[in-house]
């Protein structure tokens, strides 16, 4: 029996992480669509031969949590024995353990001297997968309308792309140039991962490799258990909703109960609404991902995320609800439900662990997608991005302004890059003053982005938060609600629903104004100097400082008038 050498352990553990990171670098740098190459809407991981996740690149947490459910499903359903050296399997099937159709996964087995040692896999959010509207984020009633469904197909056989399959898939997709480029980048990414994993095997041999993989999982398990034992035992509950489902204004009710026992935590979404014929349904993998992310946030910052952690994430999500939908429900907005669940989990835990969590965030993916035929080239173009909002305040600090929240950490699309490639002009990109949820610590500001089109295009909003702002905590107030507005050329501005596809013409402007984050603690307890600073930075108005925070600012001196502030605050408190 070999023993574990502490040094080798660190070396192999890091080498496995770096293999996946190098996959991520390859994918990003060789990809074609803005969503992948600039916004980093992708993830990479390595699984062992028992399909346990061993290492991950640090990209998008949403994918990583769902990935570990999807990849084993793909391999098992296709059959381990049918996946040979040099093959790659492509899939985006939500009902085969996956998520929404836009997220396409590619898996390659790694063979070392005829032995199957594991799988490298990457997932990328593709800018278009066909379906009823360009950018494939439109609201429909069935999965079939959302785009091409790729069950599990062998795209690469013995190192060669199967042209028939590649062509069949591409034919369903609008943005052929970008999508084919992105899929090639995914292939390059897996090749890189395979190469690096094999280098490790050449150095240590199969026996040591397996020994240390086992130890990597055990090590994470030990630390996970240790962290779990620090969480307060009890049952915690919260209820909330997604503002509408895209077809009706009926709220989509979400419920979550968290049961913390000794060395065990269970998330239960029973009581959540039944699935809808609308795009808000989350698959089990998406719901699992929300719970895994939330649990990970409660633990030591440098805990490695692998099977040794995931096996402790217990999720009960009844089939047929919006948290575990069944065929043929549409799923494109499942991430909206998923991220709202995150906010609910932290709300449920806020009383028992106030210093670990944050107040309500924008908690929506907030997609903006459009596409049409390029007037000059005749090619079909598609564009997709997601917009940030205010972050929730914490017990000792303000929520940062305009950042992505929770499982989502995608970059913005540079304006100059967007305008160079699409018939659009971004006319505004700025913070929204007074959008913060007031508090002793305030939420972050939301942001505004205006798109003016210079050509006809089909635009889709897939977002939320247009009815209810992010929650505050312990006397902190709600953040602002989001607004999606349309101003047709020479017409008055009107407000649109948060899930809508619409035809636009030259000169029309779509404006996104995302939510600010919720506040933490009473705004009357906010340090007046901080209120002054926000005022001087023009993040809040003079009136807001006075009326909401009870701080009187001497405008000419640019100072806090403490006497008047004291009076204001006392008056209100009594």
């Amino acid at each position: 029996m070999q023993t574990i050498n502490a040094i080798k352990f660190e070396v192999i553990r890091n080498a496995l992480i770096q293999a996946t990171e190098e996959m991520a670098i390859t994918l990003r740098r060789s990809a074609y669509s803005t969503n992948v190459k600039t916004r980093q809407d992708f993830s990479c991981a390595f699984f062992d031969s028992e399909l346990r996740c061993i290492s991950q690149a640090f990209t998008q947490p949403v994918h990583l949590g769902s990935f570990i459910k999807h990849i084993p499903e793909i391999v098992n359903q296709y059959g381990v024995e049918n996946i040979l050296e040099g093959d790659m399997i492509l899939s985006n099937d939500p009902y085969g353990g996956g998520v929404h159709l836009n997220d396409i996964s590619l898996i390659s087995p790694v063979y070392f001297k005829e032995y199957l040692v594991g799988y490298v896999a990457c997932l990328a959010h593709h800018v278009d997968v066909g379906g009823g509207a360009p950018a494939s984020v439109g609201a429909f009633k069935e999965i079939f309308q959302e785009g091409v469904i790729i069950p599990r197909v062998k795209l690469v056989k013995k190192g060669k792309i199967d042209k028939d399959i590649f062509d069949l898939i591409l034919e369903q997709i609008r943005s052929k140039h970008e999508t084919s480029g992105d899929i090639r980048a995914q292939i390059g990414s897996n090749l890189t991962g395979e190469k690096r994993i094999l280098e490790i095997l050449h150095k240590y041999g199969l026996d040591e490799f397996n020994l240390y993989i086992e130890e990597i999982i055990k090590y994470t398990e030990r630390r996970t258990k240790n962290e779990l034992s620090k969480l307060p035992i009890g049952k915690y509950f919260a209820e909330g909703f997604v503002d509408n489902d895209g077809f009706t204004d009926k709220k989509v009710i979400l419920k979550v109960e968290i049961i913390i026992d000794k060395n065990k935590i269970t998330f239960n979404t029973s009581g959540s609404d039944l699935q809808r014929q609308a795009p808000v349904n989350s698959t089990f993998a998406q719901t699992f991902s929300a719970c895994a992310y939330a649990l990970r946030c409660l633990m030591d910052k440098d805990l490695p995320v692998n099977h040794g952690f995931y096996k402790y994430v217990n999720v009960i999500a009844p089939e047929g609800t919006v948290t575990n939908c069944v065929h043929p429900a549409p799923v494109v907005g499942g991430w909206e439900t998923h991220v709202r669940l995150n906010d609910l989990i932290f709300l449920a835990l806020s009383k028992s662990m106030p210093d670990l969590i944050c107040a309500g965030t924008k908690s929506m993916q907030c997609h903006s997608g459009f596409g049409g035929i390029n007037e000059y080239t005749g090619d079909y173009y598609c564009f997709l991005e997601t917009l940030a909002g205010g972050y929730g305040a914490r017990s000792t600090s303000d929520g940062p302004d305009a950042v992505q929240a929770h499982g989502q950490n995608t970059e913005n699309a540079p304006i100059e890059e967007t305008e160079s490639n699409y018939p659009v002009q971004i006319t505004k990109y700025e913070l929204i003053p007074n959008s913060e949820g007031p508090g002793k610590f305030r939420g972050g500001l939301g942001l505004r982005r205006d798109y003016m089109f210079t050509d006809e295009t089909t635009f889709t909003i897939l977002a939320d938060r247009d009815k209810d702002g992010p929650h505050g905590l312990f006397g902190g107030k709600k953040g602002s609600v989001s607004v999606y507005a349309l101003k047709r050329k020479n017409k008055q501005e009107i407000t649109l629903s948060s899930k809508k596809t619409i035809q636009l013409y030259s000169g029309d402007v779509i404006s996104y104004r995302t939510s600010g984050g919720g506040g933490f603690g009473s705004p009357f307890k906010r340090d007046p100097i901080k209120v002054l600073s926000d005022y001087l930075q023009q993040k809040i108005s003079y009136e807001r400082a006075r009326n909401i925070y009870g701080v009187h600012i001497d405008k000419s001196q640019k100072l806090v008038d403490y006497k008047k502030t004291y009076k204001l605050r006392n008056l209100r408190l009594n």
């Binding site: 502490a6 040094i7 090590y219 914490r394 302004d401 160079s420 002009q425 930075q537």
Partner: protein
């Protein structure tokens, strides 16, 4: 003029580090080298600068007038940014986009941390202003620049008493017209203000990265201006009239005037000097493929030199440490710049890095450092946490009475106690075992850094020689080389001051670039030709200073094209074929691109259109490199150089073994000996493991070879 040339035969390089300011003097005729070390003076670093210069000139009795030129490397720029001590700067951009810096890239620096902080913008929101104007992506004016809005901004600049202004308007990389107009209008009213425009600093697309680079340039320009002026004055007072040159992040030096207008090019001035030292030293000895390894008190830096040239990157953030294992895109903290920086990986592993046991029972090293105060436990200055220096001491690798120019006497009992209390007890291991594990784990982190610059970029380490320097480098370099698969190691003379030497042997380089964004299947080749022609004129112009170095500067041009498949966002830097620009040139260029893409990403797509994004040109004024000075020594016998024996732990032996200790000052060229061995000199200790042998070359360098 002949006589003056004869007098001006000394060059001096000054490298200001966190603790020490090093000066290196070289006689450019004979190649003789002298060094001096003084404490850094953080409040006004120019004081330390001049005293290091004075010390060396007085000691060698050299006339200040006989100086050819002075080269300087400094961390003043980086420190100002990291410590938030930049000048009061305003930011001006296109109407609708004042929050470009606040929003940045809309991402969080860490994924699972609900308490994260977003880096604070270098310019507060109230000093970000909007001018009414607009260009489209073709550089056509959609909305002319509005005079009234300019006047309004000027009033605000006056009212807010700013020291500097950064201007970044949308699509100015295509058409700088509005930026130029705006700058002129401000200059007329406020002639003393330092103004940087994005089209001058880095005329490339993607507004946030361009704005961030421009803001950094502008916000440090008043500080650098003051700093450089103060040094110039002090040099003048000291009768050194020679030209002052400054090290750039890209490994070349530039004039003091250029440093004042483009200070963003000097943010990584210090680390770059070390890489240049490795490359020049290696080249002079006939090595073209080098891995440079520089380890000091708090960090270790690794860089790759291929075909005699350091690799240069444009994906860099100031104030963002690369932690191996922290994610490929750990670059979201810090402030991005798009100017070329020598591609080096810096990790928190130095003599002061702290060892600890985590909650899963794993022994970890760094990234926390004990710094200089309280320092490692063995310094006896109150530090209780075990560090790499403590471990090296316990293993017998350091002499407690001969450390850091004998500035400190090390206490081995305190080192042992700290390891026992903090690690050995918890792990159930002996102090010696833990000390060895600390070194191996630290080495492992450094190996990862070395891999990041070599294997992960597709280079096979076996084709490289490793140069190890910095105070702590020579103690680790042989083991690291072995781990990465390098067979040969070079340890220069005076490893602790090698960086300062790098300053004296580097060419004067000016980088210029131009954005094209054209597809090679539809472009007109004359566009490329004209682009390079205008860059040549621009690059040459930057050299037109009155310099004594060379009466008729001979300027060489290095030309590169940044290319990608049409649709991609990241370019590969492809060297332009050295021939007339015609169809053949293009065919050769495209083949180089396809090849580079295949080697980087594993595939090529020959029938996809290729796009040329940027033209880059470096105008190089060559500096004569002094010949290496041969080692003069009367000590022919190996035994004369042995100053004693001590018991040293080598991990490959799993125990302490009796090891000879050599005095490097008594080496003669051609001397050969085998490990295990220790080589001591005042500023560093080299460790030669058992399976390595050493040869002292003609110039006194140690050449280590794996047996």
């Amino acid at each position: 003029m002949k006589s003056s040339k004869k007098i001006n035969n000394y060059r001096i390089g000054v490298d200001i580090g966190g603790t020490f300011t090093d000066a290196t003097l070289i006689n450019s005729n004979t190649g003789e080298i002298f060094t001096s070390k003084v404490l850094t003076t953080p409040l006004d670093p120019s004081i330390g600068f001049i005293s290091a210069v004075e010390k060396i000139l007085k000691f060698k009795k050299i006339q200040p007038e006989s100086m050819e030129y002075v080269v300087h490397a400094t961390t003043v720029a980086t420190n100002a940014i990291i410590e938030g001590k930049t000048a009061k700067t305003a930011f001006i951009t296109t109407e609708g986009f004042r929050d470009m810096l606040e929003i940045a890239r809309q991402i969080r620096p860490s994924l699972y941390d609900l308490q994260f902080k977003k880096p604070k913008p270098l310019i507060p929101r109230q000093l970000c202003f909007e001018v009414i104007e607009r260009m489209n992506s073709k550089g056509e004016i959609i909305k002319p620049i509005d005079k009234k809005s300019i006047d309004k901004i000027i009033e605000l600049l006056i009212k807010n008493k700013v020291d500097a202004v950064a201007i970044c308007l949308l699509h100015s990389y295509r058409n700088p017209e509005h930026e130029i107009q705006l700058k002129k209008a401000i200059q007329i009213r406020l002639p003393k203000l330092m103004i940087s425009t994005s089209s001058e600093v880095v005329p490339e697309f993607r507004e946030y990265l361009r704005a961030s680079t421009t803001v950094i340039n502008s916000s440090i320009s008043p500080i650098i201006n003051k700093y450089i002026t103060s040094i110039s004055k002090k040099l003048f007072k000291y009768k050194i009239n020679a030209e002052l040159l400054v090290m750039q992040s890209n490994g070349g030096v530039y004039t003091a005037d250029a440093a004042i207008t483009s200070p963003v090019h000097m943010v990584e001035s210090g680390p770059a000097a070390g890489v240049v030292a490795s490359s020049v030293l290696g080249k002079s000895l006939g090595y073209k493929n080098i891995i440079s390894f520089d380890m000091g008190g708090t960090t270790a830096k690794a860089a790759l030199i291929r075909d005699g040239k350091p690799t240069v990157t444009k994906d860099y953030s100031v104030g963002n440490f690369a932690q191996t294992g922290a994610g490929a895109f750990g670059g979201s903290s810090g402030y991005p710049i798009r100017t070329p920086v020598i591609d080096l990986v810096e990790i928190g592993a130095g003599g002061g890095s702290i060892a600890w046991v985590d909650s899963g029972g794993a022994l970890r090293v760094g990234p926390q450092s004990s710094g200089a105060d309280p320092g490692p436990a063995c310094y006896g200055l109150g530090g209780t946490q075990p560090t790499i220096t403590d471990a090296n001491l316990i293993l017998g690798k350091l002499d407690p009475n001969y450390f850091a120019n004998e500035e400190i006497i090390l206490d081995i009992d305190l080192a042992e106690k700290s390891i026992f209390d903090n690690c050995a007890k918890q792990l159930g291991l002996s102090v010696l075992e833990v000390a060895n594990a600390i070194i191996e784990i630290a080495n492992n982190a450094m190996v990862n850094a070395l891999r990041l610059v070599s294997v992960q970029k597709g280079h096979d380490p076996r084709e490289f020689i490793m140069v190890g320097f910095g105070g702590a480098g020579p103690a680790h370099v042989a083991n690291l080389a072995e781990e990465v698969g390098i067979q040969k190691v070079l340890i220069p003379k005076g490893p602790g001051t090698a960086s300062a030497l790098g300053l004296l042997v580097t060419d004067i380089r000016m980088d210029v670039s131009k954005t094209l964004i054209v597809r090679t299947d539809t472009m007109d080749l004359s566009e490329v030709k004209e682009g390079f022609d205008s860059l040549e004129v621009e690059g040459r112009g930057l050299h037109s200073y009155n310099v004594n170095v060379d009466q008729k500067p001979n300027i060489l041009f290095e030309k590169f094209l940044e290319m990608r498949y049409w649709g991609q966002s990241f370019e590969l830097n492809i060297q332009a074929p050295d021939k007339k620009i015609d169809q053949n040139w293009l065919t050769e260029l495209l083949e180089s691109f396809h090849l580079a893409h295949e080697s980087s990403y594993g595939f090529r797509v020959d029938n996809d259109p290729v796009e040329i994004v940027n033209l880059r040109l470096t105008a190089v004024r060559k500096i004569s490199i002094p010949k290496n000075q041969e080692l003069k020594s009367n000590y022919k016998n190996k035994s004369i150089a042995i100053k004693g024996q001590r018991s040293v732990y080598f991990s490959e032996e799993h125990k302490k073994i009796n090891t000879p200790v050599y005095d490097r000052s008594k080496f003669s060229s051609g001397l050969l000996f085998s490990g295990p061995a220790i080589v001591e000199e005042p500023d560093s200790t080299s460790i030669i493991p058992p399976n390595w042998q050493v040869e002292v070359d003609l110039y006194g360098n140690l050449i280590l070879q794996k047996k």
